[in-house]
């Protein structure tokens, strides 16, 4: 890669790192795994950077790689997922309603099966279309719809979302 491309990738890597770690955490519930997935996605992006920059949408590429790497984690290694249901942040002494809501929502999200959680994260957090989610997860649009429906039903049941979500 030439110097300009190296600098360009470096800028991209530094500006997207935190968001990729957050995406990894949303998918895995584990901050260590989240950083591993973010590293995997960015290393693969580096390896193909000249091609990716031509496509004009490197964000979509790294997201897809991260999601696929997480899927592979289950497929290849049959990882027994252990979810903590808590965020890796010291709980403040004065827990407000807002921070309470975050912890509850994160716990509810992490309690979803991996596929449903991926659909919620991609569809509602990253605001991807159902078609884009289906492409990213390698499934049909119908499957995305049904997974989203089940996930939202579960989230409703596990936390008081009805007031604000319906």
């Amino acid at each position: 890669m030439d110097r300009a491309a190296e600098a360009e990738f470096s800028g991209f890597m530094h500006s997207r790192w935190l968001q990729l770690v957050r995406l990894g955490f949303a998918l895995t519930g584990d901050s260590g795994l989240a950083e591993d997935l973010a590293q995997t996605a960015l290393a693969r992006a580096y390896a193909s950077w000249p091609k990716i920059r031509r496509t004009g949408d490197p964000d979509a590429y790294v997201r897809r790689v991260l999601v696929n790497a997480n899927r592979s984690r289950f497929r290849k290694h049959r990882v027994a997922e252990q979810l903590t249901g808590t965020v890796p942040e010291p709980v403040p002494q004065e827990v407000t309603r807002d921070s309470d809501d975050r912890v509850t929502l994160m716990a509810a999200l992490l309690s979803l099966p991996p596929r449903q959680r991926s659909v919620v994260v991609l569809r509602f957090w990253l605001d991807m279309t159902e078609t884009q989610v289906a492409e990213a997860l390698g499934c049909s649009v119908g499957n995305v719809k049904s997974q989203a429906s089940r996930a939202l039903a579960t989230l409703r049941a596990r936390m008081d979302l009805t007031e604000e979500m319906s």
């Binding site: 470096s10 403040p92 807002d98």
Partner: protein, 361 residues
Amino acid sequence: MTGHGEQDLGQRVDRALATITSGPVPAAAIVAWGRAIRRRRRLAGAAAVAGAVAVTAVAVALPGLLFTAVHKKPPAGPLTINKLGPVARDGVIGSGTTGGKPWVVRLAGGPNPVAQATGVPGTSRLGTRPAGSDPAALHAGGSGAFRLLAGPVSPQVAYLTMRLAGGTTYRLSPVAWHGHRYVALVVPWNLQVTQFTAYSQHGELAFAIPFPDPGEFPRVVSWLRPGTPVPAVASATVAHGVDHNGPGFWAVQVQIGPWGTCLQDYGGNFGTWCRPTVSYPPNAITLVMSGPHISERAGITGRAVAYIQLRLRNGKTARLHVLHIGGQGFYALSVLTGPPASWTAYTTTGHPIATGTGTPG
């Protein structure tokens, strides 16, 4: 479930994930891993070529197919820029098309003009020439899908080029208006500009690698002379915390690179602050990020400042960590958590070197 409800879920997930932080970017490890992947691919490719010799006859039968695969034309760019000038007519300093839609940029407002284009918010006052020895000052206007980019260029600039991530390069020719020269164009907000270069009649004057501000148009902060080593990129979180009465989780990150020095406020309202990387006096303490309705404060120190001791208005004391990176020190705090009444800066050996009242800097 309504669309509004789904949007609300996205926002709530966003707020929940905003509490997730990370250490510094393991940049060296990522690049080393990426290079290893590329080496493996090359080896695999070489092995495939060796195997392909056996099936050359098949390939010879399909030359058209191979040609199509290798020489596929890139898609046509969404942006065209017309060459105008050298003198503006009716104040028009730029025209072209973006995504097939025509745009025209006009200057208005007297000798210190603003740039205006239909359907796009205008820029702030552009001034008449760039600061110092910079070849151009590029101001981005607007916050929607399209941005108006305009600014004055110095007299010795013959033209600028704008290079995109895919390698496409556009030429921007200055147009004179009231005795000063300007460039202007309308671009999609997410256009991935990787470099601006300024040329005189005799060759390259300077180049700028813009800061890739997430969600914003790339920001030109510094111009580098040809042959200048491109500064390395470094980033780190200066400080973070939780304001129960304010934005909730907040964090200030520093990003240093070829663009200059940028501080970003996550969770708060300040956004991004950038300026060219400069050398500060060893005991300097400069507040750079503050605002009337913003609880976060951030500043830069010289290399001698190791930490800042705060005396809070409630009588307590707190030590403010100074993060040193790229020859500069950075600090950040929330004045909601504990408004400081006074402060004293110390060296690593514990000698006080600066003092003041209120927020440091």
